[in-house]
């Protein structure tokens, strides 16, 4: 039999083979979704240690629900974009993790469903075991849209070795120091070019704690206008900027994008770092003795930002068996058992009071996190955000960092920002009105 292959025949076969491969790819692509009945959930994960925690969550879910758990893990920087595309294309998981600052953004646009009906219909579930601040973070427009898995106030980390070396008495473990004392300490501990008193991120996320402590806020109570120009907020902004520009008690800013307070603190030559307990797991790598204390108290006391993350159910989840499974999954992921896994791994303070005992030292004073949340010590302030918080943050991120560099004065920066912030606040109110109307 002849085995000669003409060029035409070869091309024809190649063409058909190509079409076959393309068709097979298309078919397999269409059928590559999760198996029916699987408990799918999405979460950010940027390290092997984080992945280990979520793998353990997955095992716990399978053990509790007796169904396959499929977690879609994405690095934190790309998580929101991926989630958006999944929500739009109807391929989102049954349950999705949300950063607390984005809950109003998603809720107002109808991307996630309210959970009140599911909570009311389930006698086995109660929100009472969740910290009040976590419940507030998970709500929008009077409805619960998300259930927290972690919540924590910003605290002040300090390098015990550095203070001891300088002969400075260690600060009180429970009583917040005043701003004046804090500034004096920072100055005392600074040796230009070698050692610094304080570090924080040159961004609104860190500034807002000082603003709350001074009795101010980013927005008015009705979120209708910016209040950054009010005396309380201005006092706070000027205080922090002075630490950077006038007192120069902070390490020099090398790059506004990559500036990391944790990285500065871990160098061992910075006395105080403003950060949340979610960095405890990383700070444990420090080669010096350190601990945490309550945030310094301003005119309104010690009321740093309290932030948290939650799980929510996308609106695209269909009523019936799919929604039933989503709700069961949601309950499991936020159960005491699951949050015990999370807290034991040291990731952050769990949102449930009953899981609190799993978040254990080091550092020695870690217990203040739960005492602050329970209102027994110092205080905290839920991170107030708008339904267009990305835009607000973006705008503040443009001009505020320049004040840290001394390129622009605080009054000039705020005067320039306020009209544009006011427009965003009005747009936020419009979005809230539309969301209210849509829900009847």
């Amino acid at each position: 039999m002849s085995t000669n292959l003409s060029r035409r025949r070869f091309l024809g076969m190649t063409g058909f083979a190509g079409l076959g491969v393309a068709a097979a790819g298309a078919v397999s692509g269409c059928s590559s979704g999760p198996p029916a009945g699987a408990a799918t959930w999405s979460m950010w994960s940027s390290s092997a240690a984080e992945k280990k925690v979520w793998d353990d969550f997955g095992k716990y879910v399978e053990q509790q629900l007796k169904v396959k758990s499929i977690a879609s893990l994405t690095p934190s920087t790309g998580y929101p974009t991926k989630l958006d595309l999944q929500l739009v294309s109807g391929t989102a998981s049954l349950v999705t993790a949300l950063n607390g600052t984005l809950i109003p953004t998603y809720a107002a646009r109808g991307a996630h469903r309210p959970l009140d009906d599911l909570i009311a219909a389930d006698p086995d579930f109660s929100l009472d075991d969740f910290y009040e601040t976590s419940r507030r973070i998970g709500s929008f427009n009077g409805k619960t849209y998300a259930i927290g898995f972690d919540v924590a106030p910003t605290v002040m980390y300090y390098n015990k070795d550095l203070l001891k070396k300088q002969g400075i008495p260690l600060p009180s473990r429970t009583e917040p120091m005043s701003w004046a004392t804090f500034r004096d300490l920072c100055k005392q501990l600074t040796k230009p070019g070698q050692q610094y008193g304080f570090t924080c991120a040159p961004a609104i996320d860190d500034l807002v704690s000082w603003i709350y402590c001074a009795g101010g806020n980013v927005m008015s109570d009705d979120a209708g206008r910016s209040t950054l120009g009010d005396p309380e907020a201005m006092e706070a902004l000027q205080y922090v900027i002075d630490l950077f520009v006038k007192d120069q008690v902070t390490p020099p800013i090398k790059n506004l994008v990559t500036e990391s307070s944790l990285s500065n603190f871990l160098q061992g030559n910075v006395a105080f770092m403003q950060n949340g307990p979610w960095q405890v797991v990383n700070a444990r790598k420090a080669k010096f003795d350190w601990d945490i204390i309550p945030f310094p108290a301003g005119a309104a006391g010690s009321k740093p930002r309290v932030s948290g993350s939650s799980f929510a159910i996308p609106s695209g989840v269909r009523e019936g068996a799919e929604l039933d499974l989503a709700w069961k999954l949601m309950k499991t992921l936020t159960s005491t058992g699951a949050l015990d896994i999370y807290a034991k791994a040291g990731r952050n303070n769990p949102a449930r009071l009953s899981a609190g005992s799993a978040f254990q030292p080091p550092p020695d004073n870690l217990g203040i996190v739960q005492e602050i949340l329970a209102g027994k010590l110092a205080g905290g302030h839920a991170f107030d955000v708008t339904t267009n918080w990305n835009q607000v943050k973006q705008l503040l991120g443009q001009d505020l960092p320049r004040t840290f560099l001394g390129q622009v004065s605080v009054p000039d920066a705020i005067n320039g920002l306020t009209p544009r912030l006011d427009i965003l606040m009005r747009q936020h109110l419009d979005t809230v009105r539309q969301a209210t109307a849509r829900k009847g």
Binding site: L11, V88, N255, L256, N390, Q391, Q398, R402
Partner: protein
């Protein structure tokens, strides 16, 4: 002169029996044309799905108010009207133009300056060519992070080198005046390799007889470069200019990683603003309107370049 009957009689052609012929096959249905279409098809399908389709979709989306999650509503030309009073849009457009106007000529000069000596029979030219092409072959994210370290104000390599000459270097990436030049410098370093390889190919295609004739006529090296090299290299030059301008208008990743558009909006580029508008602010309609304006700019500039090339670009044939 009498005319013969043969001259005057009407000629009568004898009908020859012919087979009935079918109308000629149109060129596009010929076997060669069909084969050509078959080869083009994969690329064409890709173009329609991933390029033409999104452009048409952007045109439609630009006429809508759409936050991604809710049903879109009709906006007409409102999204285009929003461009006028939006200071960030104009700032981003200005930054992009600044980037393009400085980075493209610089890249071309550097590429050509490196291609010319490499064309002079340098030993191990392949090694040099490969080394110089490395920055272009490296992903921008990695390059951007390396340059962030190089630009560190106090102990970065760039300022350390400047310090050897008694120059106190600026805080590159956080300085109002230096952030954009810093991005341009990094981008030129990243992309000169591509132009260099294209120029090198163009230089190697120039017939040596032209230079020999020039030498016989006593042409100086500068005149030889000006009157032989540049005209003969003009198609390659044109190609590099067009691709560089288009690439510069789309600059995004290095600005996002190295400065995040700051300080202020000094390095916010148009593509970065489009991305933020669409995917961080969930304003898809406005983002689509901006992207169409960018598309129009690129089309106009490229069309202008094509018109201009008729006078300045010399093709061998």
């Amino acid at each position: 002169m009498a005319l013969s009957t043969a001259d005057t009689a009407p000629s009568v052609s004898t009908p020859t029996p012919t087979r009935p012929t079918s109308p000629p096959t149109p060129r596009w249905r010929s076997r060669e044309a069909l084969t050509a279409w078959l080869f083009i098809l994969p690329s064409l399908i890709g173009f329609l799905i991933f390029t033409a389709g999104p452009v048409v979709a952007a045109g439609v989306i630009s006429l809508l108010n759409w936050n991604l999650f809710s049903a879109p509503t009709w906006a007409g030309l409102h999204n285009f009207a929003r461009l006028g009073p939006d200071p960030t849009f104009w700032s981003a457009l200005g930054n992009t133009a600044y980037f393009t106007l400085v980075s493209v000529p610089l890249t071309i000069v550097v590429s050509l300056a490196l291609a010319l000596p490499l064309n002079q029979g340098v030993r191990r030219v392949a090694v040099f060519r490969s080394l110089l092409l490395l920055p272009y072959a490296t992903i921008t994210v990695a390059v951007a992070f390396v340059w962030i370290w190089l630009y560190i104000p106090h102990d970065g390599l760039v300022n350390a080198v400047l310090g050897w000459f008694g120059i106190h270097g600026p805080a590159w990436l956080i300085s109002d005046g230096w952030a954009m030049p810093a991005l341009i410098l990094m981008s030129v370093w990243k992309s000169f390799g591509f132009g260099m390889v294209v120029f090198l190919a163009g230089l190697q295609a120039i017939p040596q007889q032209l230079y020999e004739a020039g030498r016989v006529d006593g042409t100086s090296p500068w005149n030889s470069f000006r009157h032989i090299t540049l005209p003969m290299l003009s198609p390659a030059l044109f190609f590099v200019i067009v691709t560089s301008v288009i690439g510069s208008f789309q600059v995004f990743d290095q600005a996002l990683i190295m400065t995040n558009g700051g300080p202020g909006t000094r390095t916010t580029t148009l593509v970065m603003y489009i991305y933020r508008t669409g995917f961080e602010n969930y304003d898809q309609g406005y983002a689509a309107a901006q992207s169409l304006v960018l598309f129009a700019f690129i089309v106009m500039i490229t069309a202008g370049q094509f018109l201009f090339q008729r006078k300045l670009v010399h093709y061998d044939n």
